[in-house]
């Protein structure tokens, strides 16, 4: 008996000692397992990584400045010097596409952060308190959700005026309604757990229970929502920029590159129309693939959530 206890203690101690090192290699192993089981998800992750690197290191990856007008280089076809050709003002398309990644990444991550923070605030409190508070909040969310996404965003953008921060605000506020619905649903099932009841029994306040006991348990849902949301937000940003409510020129955004005065040159220079759209599609595809795979592994209940905003 004593022997057994001692073996257990040494085992525990050994495990304790191994932990920091083991968690590092366990993470690598988990990543490897993810890549093997979800090759398409891994591909998506790779695309996302490339996008982030492109945005962060844009000045080093681009060949020219995004607004640099090159003399005698109007509407040049793609080739060795200009990988994606040049536009009607003689600007290098590759450089503009690379810098455009900055807008997409900033808007995507910014809006997701805002939407999920607001969504968690509304969703967790609504699911936790329930009752009249829940009913009132949910009616407002209902009303908010019954507008078509693009119509609300356009109206908000008209109020705020174009600009990077305003897009993030508009997308974040609108996205929050959707996020809060899903988070509320998860919260309701988490609240039923015994540990929430015991937390209440030992006298924890509402705030402490929500932050320390419920939030960590809905984090998985939030991560999945965020990854799927990123693709949708990038798509929405491009649509807004396309309609002229995005980042003001000359700063390149992929959606804006497909609209405006340049449109009449698409017939002479189809590469002007092709590459920015390809960039949007690839970026969104990456996030969707990664999000799908993450959802299957972390939270299969969320199947059918998310998708697209137009």
């Amino acid at each position: 008996m004593a022997n057994q206890v001692e073996t257990l203690t040494t085992a525990a101690r050994r495990a304790e000692r191994r932990r920091p090192d083991a968690s590092g290699s366990a993470r690598v192993r988990a990543l490897w397992r993810f890549c093997r089981r979800k090759p398409l998800g891994a591909l998506g992750g790779l695309i996302v990584l490339a996008l982030i690197v492109m945005a962060a290191l844009a000045p080093w990856i681009a060949h020219y400045a995004y607004d640099e007008t090159l003399r005698g280089a109007r509407l040049k076809a793609p080739g060795a010097q200009f990988w994606m050709g040049t536009d009607n003002l003689g600007r290098d398309m590759w450089s503009r596409v690379v810098y455009g990644a900055r807008v997409s990444v900033t808007v995507g991550f910014g809006a997701v952060l805002l939407a999920n923070a607001l969504g968690a605030l509304i969703g967790v409190s609504s699911g936790y308190f329930g009752g009249k508070y829940d009913i009132c909040v949910q009616r407002v969310v209902d009303a908010w959700q019954s507008f078509p996404f693009l119509v609300v965003i356009l109206s908000i953008m008209a109020v705020l005026g174009p600009g990077l921060l305003n897009i993030v605000l508009a997308l974040g506020v609108v996205g929050a309604a959707n996020a809060s619905r899903v988070i509320r649903g998860t919260t309701i099932s988490v609240v039923e757990n015994v540990y929430v009841e015991s937390a209440r029994a030992i006298g924890c306040g509402h705030l402490r229970i929500m932050v320390r006991h419920i939030l960590p348990n809905v984090a998985g849902t939030i991560i999945v929502l965020a990854t799927i949301g990123l693709g949708a937000f990038i798509l929405a940003e491009s649509a807004l920029s396309f309609l002229g409510f995005g980042v003001p020129p000359p700063y390149p955004s992929w959606g804006a590159m497909l609209s405006g005065a340049g449109r009449s040159f698409f017939y002479q220079a189809p590469w002007m129309a092709i590459y920015p759209g390809l960039a949007i599609s690839l970026a969104v595809f990456g996030f969707n693939m990664l999000g799908d795979a993450l959802r299957d592994m972390l939270d299969p209940r969320l199947r059918g959530v998310g998708g697209r905003m137009r």
Partner: protein, 313 residues
């Protein structure tokens, strides 16, 4: 059932009231002052205050809201600040265009997504399944306005042909009138079909593992009957729910597609109104859209009872 629909209608009223307040107050927060803008572009009044009084914009906002709400109930949506034409009249002219576009898009969407979703579920983990799932994610990722742009530009370069972007009335040329809707509706439909297809596959897979489906197999039903009669009918409830959401998204999508393809519908009207800060028009269109969506959701709920007789209201 009738009692349920009545109760749902009553519950929809507060939602609609909140929505109407959002609809009303949102455009009024515009930073650019409509009065300033109108004075700059065309001289309507003597000065700012004069014009403001003429438009009734000088009174407190809640007075304006209740006045507006009162006239809405009586079927008036006011008149455009720019053209002075009644909003209701403009909408009755433009709504059919958007409805045709939306209905056709929905038709494309359902007729693409349901068969493929069923096939992917029944032949799970085969090449057909992988292919259709990959194509669906791809369709979710491609921006519709880009696809629409390519469809207009590329044929023009390759074959010197481009889809019509000049609007033709039905009375002028019925065939051309219908034809101009097909392409935008198809692109709009493809995008929303991806979401419906994925959900159809996921829910059908779940249903096909149920005991009653095994019973259906055991009693010797043919595959067609098992999948369509026992499987699909039970898998359709979430699909119908998403269909309701998709209708809202399709309505939003009309803003982009009517602009690209030159269709004089409600979406383009809204886009122009937002650019011109035309409050009554923005309010009128948004209110109409919201009411249509609330009604649609009610219809979706009523569909549940039809699809699943266990649901009693």
């Amino acid at each position: 059932m009738r009692k349920y629909v009545l109760r749902r209608l009553l519950v929809a009223i507060p939602s609609l009231l909140i929505a109407s307040f959002i609809v009303f107050s949102l455009p009024r927060l515009l930073p650019g002052d409509i009065v300033q803008l109108m004075l700059e572009e065309r001289a309507y009044g003597k000065d700012l205050d004069d014009l403001r009084a003429k438009l009734g914009l000088n009174r407190p906002i809640y007075v304006q809201y209740f006045e507006w709400l009162g006239s809405v109930v009586r079927g008036h949506l006011g008149e455009s600040l720019w053209t002075k034409r009644p909003v209701v009249e403009e909408l009755t002219r433009r709504l059919p265009v958007s409805l045709k576009l939306g209905a056709l898009a929905l038709l494309f969407s359902v007729s693409i997504s349901l068969p493929i979703g069923i096939l992917a579920a029944v032949r799970q983990d085969t090449l057909a399944d992988y292919l259709s799932r990959s194509v669906a994610i791809l369709a979710l990722s491609i921006p519709g306005f880009w696809l629409a742009t390519l469809v207009v530009v590329l044929p023009a370069i390759w074959w010197n042909w481009s889809p019509p972007i000049q609007f033709t009335e039905f009375s002028a040329d019925p065939w051309a009138h219908v034809a101009q809707f097909i392409l935008p509706a198809f692109i709009l439909g493809v995008a929303s079909s991806a979401a419906i297809m994925r959900l159809t596959r996921a829910t059908l897979l779940e249903v096909l593992r149920q005991d009653y489906v095994r019973t259906a197999w055991a009693k010797g039903s043919r595959e067609r009957s098992v999948v369509l009669k026992h499987g699909l009918k039970n898998a359709l409830i979430p699909v119908v729910t998403v269909l309701g959401i998709q209708i809202a998204q399709i309505l939003g999508g009309t803003v982009i597609f009517e602009t690209i393809f030159g269709l004089p519908g409600m979406g383009r009207f809204l886009f122009d109104a937002i650019n011109q800060r035309d409050y009554p028009v923005i309010q009128g269109i948004n209110l109409l859209i919201v009411s249509m969506i609330v009604l649609m959701n009610l219809l979706v709920d009523a569909c549940y009872a039809f699809l699943d007789p266990r649901i009693r209201y």
